[in-house]
Amino acid sequence: MAAFLLRRLLQGALVVLGVTFTVFVVTRVFGNPVDLMLPLSASAEQRAAFAAELGLDRPLPAQFMQFVGELLRFDFGESTWQRRPAMAVVLERLPNSLLLIGAGLGLAIILALPAGLLAAGRPGGLLDRVVTGISLAGLSMPQFWVGLLLIVLFAVAIPVLPTSGMGTPAHLVLPAVTLALVPFARMTLFVRSQIMEELNRPYIRTALARGLPRSRVLVGHALRNTLVPFLTLVGWELVLALAGYTVVVETVFAWPGMGLVAIQALQRGDLFLVQAIVYTVAVLIVLVNILLDVVFKLVDPRIGLG
């Protein structure tokens, strides 16, 4: 187990290094941090001084080493917009994003498992068509649009839920529902097709032949054996949520999380803050993937610990 964890951690470090390299190339080779971060009115002297302060006057390899060195020391620089360490801003907003993701994905999982199961129970039946239809529609709608429609609906037609900001549990409802829709749709279709596949396997026939009731075979055998691959999908959705859904959903609902800050920082040319967010998310993704691998090993008896 220790060797396995070490190997996965090394792979994770490689991912972070890859992200670092990409960010470095993008910001230092394609773009110029000075142009991005200083206002257009800045004088040539101010620009030169800023470049020197960042070490931009040195050759690229030296810059890269400095870049990596700062990261290793968890030095992400100071947010030019908020005038405080970029990581402090990130850590302040991270819990808000995690709350949103937790609520959204939780909702998606709770709904997708029974929906997929019921649909697979009678393929081609009315329920199956309704569930499949809703899922396909959910997969086809842009998240920001769903969010805006919900705002229109709940601000204009039925003004019962707050449509922006954070505070009461009610504030969480619309963002969480919006975030849940796409994962719910994908999970439902996945559970449905997995269970249908599983139901074709001989062990299901044997379980039925042993006299176990259909409901029990569906839940206790087919669904249970679907959970391991389902977990992979949940992990993937978690990654997508961390790196994408939150940006869109938080922007629509002005939810003060990491995604909203990222967009605001981009608009203000606050490169250091954006970098800090990108790294935080990259590390979180690596951790999620490692966690998933460990869980697989614990859940599936066929995968050995090696």
């Binding site: 001989p202 026939r205 379980a207 039925l208 032949a209 006299g211 176990l212 008896p301």
Partner: protein
């Protein structure tokens, strides 16, 4: 003869497919008495497994029973769900695939025992170990905590038998129970099956394509061809004196059963399409002694050894082959 435990009358099963209606089972009638072993023999696609699945109410999609009735102790079986496991148990072909790969052997046994008998967890576990001992597994207590992928095919088939026996069934349907196993293991499983049958007074329906297996184990046999039963009878009499040309051909093609010829001879041709079966006797296109009468469907009439669906039942269909 005792009253039949299970009686199938004029069973019909069809599979609608895009290419047309497949008549997998047509007018099949079978009976099995308590404590009796009935063999159902036929090539793949002859409808033997589908018949068994229909008896269990476990037809795969898109199969449907469209005619006939299945009686259990004289009463219609309905959807069979209430009897499955409790009165009718079964063992399938591929033991590796027949057990849930993510549950231990013990968990699957305990689950079944608890469902049918309402045992406590501990009592069910003890009973599970007893069952594993009954199917002659060594170290049954240790096996309970093993997963299917840790065990060999022969052992898994024993486990599958234990699972089938968990609820003290009156009838065991064994669908090609040894086909997926090594030859030496096959013999062990068949011995075990025979022993269990004798000890528990089980009725067994043994489905196989292997006449040798039937000969060793069964009291009676039904030979199926193209979705129909073409001949039934007591095993010894039928093997000594097969009435239907197809049975005669099968015996000729099986080693060690037919002493009259030294060489094994295949039956020329292939079974007919079940989508568009030929008019009259389905075996007519391959039958060496078919004549004009065979264009009409043959009656399932009594013969010296049982019953056969053949206009020329009893006639020797195949010329002796010189050694």
């Amino acid at each position: 003869m005792t009253a039949p435990l299970l009686a199938v009358r004029d069973l019909r099963v069809v599979f609608p497919t895009r290419a047309g209606l497949v008549r997998a089972v047509s007018d099949v009638s079978l009976e099995v008495a308590a404590g009796e072993t009935l063999g159902i023999v036929g090539e793949s696609g002859s409808g033997k497994s589908v018949s068994a699945q229909a008896m269990l109410g476990l037809l795969p999609l898109p199969g449907r029973v469209t005619g006939g009735e299945i009686l259990w102790r004289g009463r219609p079986l309905g959807d069979a769900a209430g009897l499955r496991g409790r009165e009718i148990a079964c063992v399938f072909q591929d033991p590796m695939q027949s057990l849930n790969p993510l549950m231990t052997i013990g968990a699957q046994l305990v689950e079944t025992l608890r469902h049918h008998h309402g045992l406590s967890r501990r009592a069910a576990r003890d009973r599970a170990a007893e069952l594993l001992a009954e199917v002659a597994l060594s170290a049954p207590a240790r096996r309970l905590d093993q997963y299917p992928h840790e065990l060999s095919g022969g052992i898994l088939q024993r486990v599958a038998l234990a699972l089938a026996l968990a609820c003290e069934p009156a009838l065991l349907i064994a669908d090609e129970p040894t086909t997926a196993l090594d030859v030496t293991v096959q013999a062990e499983i068949l011995d075990l099956l025979a022993g269990l049958q004798a000890r528990r007074g089980l009725a067994v329906i043994l489905i196989t394509h292997d006449l040798g297996v039937v000969a060793g184990l069964c009291h009676r046999v039904a030979v199926m061809y193209a979705g129909r039963v073409v001949e039934t009878g007591e095993i010894d009499a039928l093997f000594a004196n097969p009435a239907h040309p197809y049975t005669q051909g099968l015996l000729r093609a099986t080693p060690g059963l037919d002493n009259r010829t030294e060489r094994l001879v295949a039956i020329d041709g292939a079974p007919p399409s079940l989508r568009a079966p030929p008019a009259g006797c389905p075996f007519r296109p391959r039958c060496p002694i078919a004549d004009a009468a065979c264009l009409a469907p043959p009656p399932f009439a009594a013969t010296d050894t049982g019953r056969a669906a053949c206009w020329r039942a009893g006639a020797a269909a195949w010329a002796e082959v010189a050694p």
